[in-house]
């Protein structure tokens, strides 16, 4: 959990401001689209900038090209700050993407054969997250964290000799047929008709740091427009939307 939206002194904005928010894929973009009309009523023109890469939304935010972004969890953001002398700050946790393990030919993790292939995302924070998920359920054991992230090198015990294959995030779902098991976010599992609730062998749940968070910069975090956006994104409307459309997949974090 993280700090709640702080109290706001200035309640109104006089003139229409444009708020640029970088994002990647649904449901992130859908949430932003959902709150757009509400912000418009507040005199804020929300412009959604869809990018296609996991680094550029932060780069753009740090460079003042956008005012906020909405695609990442806090650890990922912190890592960016550390490496780029950036001052990004989390504004509001919006939902948990319930990471899970899926397998086509196994109903439980125990059924996976010795030496089975497990596909995981190839970017380092997701490698960390995938391994942590498996460790959380005692499928593997991880050693001391030597770096910021766990890597495959940190696996000290792997009783069933699982083989990890790293592929692009976008490719994970396609590996469902290929690998014995896939560790992925619900957003990628959904198109296969898989939900964390009924299909995942293991899930992350909500007790973690990985809530998808609205992020802004230190210098604009208190801006009325940002706060208005944070407020809109934590509205009942959004909660309802997530619960109706992304049950167990995107669990509201507010």
């Amino acid at each position: 959990g993280d700090e709640e939206a702080t109290t706001n002194d200035k309640a109104t904005t006089e003139e229409a401001t444009t708020l640029k928010v970088a994002s990647l894929i649904p449901p992130m973009t859908e949430i932003l689209e959902l709150v757009e009309p509400q912000l418009e009523a507040d005199g804020i023109d929300l412009e959604i900038v869809v990018l296609g890469d996991n680094v550029q939304p932060n780069t753009a935010l740090a460079a003042d090209e956008v005012d906020a972004n909405f695609f990442q969890h806090k650890p990922y953001m912190e890592e960016f700050n550390r490496n780029n002398d950036a001052n990004l700050v989390p504004i509001e946790e919006i939902y948990f993407a319930n990471y899970g393990v899926y397998a086509k030919n196994a109903a439980s993790i125990e059924e996976l054969p010795e030496g089975a292939t497990i596909a995981i995302a190839n970017d380092i924070s997701n490698v960390d997250r995938s391994l942590a998920l498996l460790a959380q359920h005692n499928v593997i054991t991880l050693g001391e964290k030597t770096d910021v992230y766990y890597t495959e090198a940190d696996v000290i015990d792997n009783p069933k000799n699982f083989v990890f294959k790293t592929v692009d995030l976008l490719m994970l779902a396609r590996m469902y047929d290929d690998a014995d098991a896939v560790v992925m976010t619900p957003a990628y599992a959904a198109p296969l008709g898989l939900t964390p609730k009924s299909d995942a062998l293991l899930t992350e749940g909500i007790d973690n740091d990985f809530a998808i968070t609205l992020v802004a910069r230190e210098d604009n975090q208190d801006d009325a427009a940002i706060q208005a956006l944070a407020e809109a994104m934590t509205s009942e409307e959004v909660r309802q939307f997530l619960e109706e459309n992304y049950d167990e997949t995107a669990i509201p974090a507010f």
């Binding site: 990018l51 296609g52 780069t59």
Partner: protein
């Protein structure tokens, strides 16, 4: 028209427009900078009218360096330059900068090669008439190589279209990115197929036009 196209019609039209802007700008860059750069590569070759080892190696290395970058990283590397030129590093306009740079390097290489196929005699005829280097190129070598230059440009344009599909990274948009975002990431397979169809038609038209023009202009 299929429902899915109707549903997304404004986005699709916008994506097509973005592709045209990005590819159009690349073509302009290829012609305005890539053609001269490729010509310089040719001219400074050993035994060519402006033989110059140093200049050749400089241009050659420059082109190689640009072509060595994984395209994604080139886009990232260009960000400061892009910001300097167009004031922002995201969006279709911003995507033009890295695309133009790769377009220049790509076409320059093909230009160099096309010109190397021009028979020696053509250059000799020009030199014997006292043609300046500029005249040797414009009045003789380009004329002889014109169909080859056009085919190279055609091949390059098709590559530019392909490169433009990666520009989603910096929000460049375009049909390819649209296909990837909606079709692939969101599993709207039918939408993706239509987008790919549009790209095939576009490429086919460009190739046909290029081949036709090259053939018409080839009197050798």
């Amino acid at each position: 028209m299929p429902d899915v196209l109707v549903q997304y019609d404004t986005e699709i039209i916008q994506a097509i427009g973005e592709t045209f802007i990005m590819v159009g700008a690349s073509v302009v860059a290829a012609i305005v900078v890539g053609l001269p750069l490729g010509t310089l590569l040719y001219m400074t070759h050993p035994q060519k009218p402006m033989e110059n080892k140093l200049l050749y190696q400089f241009c050659n290395t420059l082109v190689n360096i640009i072509r060595s970058f994984p395209f994604l990283l080139l886009v990232v590397f260009c960000i400061p330059l892009t910001r300097l030129i167009v004031g922002t590093a995201i969006g279709t306009t911003a995507a033009i900068v890295p695309l133009a740079i790769i377009a220049i390097a790509h076409y320059a290489r093909l230009v160099e090669q096309s010109l190397l196929d021009v028979p020696k005699g053509v250059v000799e005829a020009a030199q014997a008439m006292g043609a300046s280097r500029w005249q040797i190129m414009t009045k003789f070598v380009f004329v002889d190589a014109r169909s080859s230059l056009i085919l190279s440009l055609t091949t390059s344009i098709v590559s530019f279209i392909s490169y433009s599909t990666i520009m989603g990274v910096v929000g460049g948009g375009g049909i390819g990115d649209f296909a990837i975002r909606y079709g692939y990431q969101q599993f709207k397979t039918d939408l993706m197929m239509y987008m790919i169809l549009i790209m095939i038609i576009l490429v086919q038209c460009i190739q046909l036009a290029g081949t036709f023009l090259a053939r018409t202009l080839d009197k050798r």
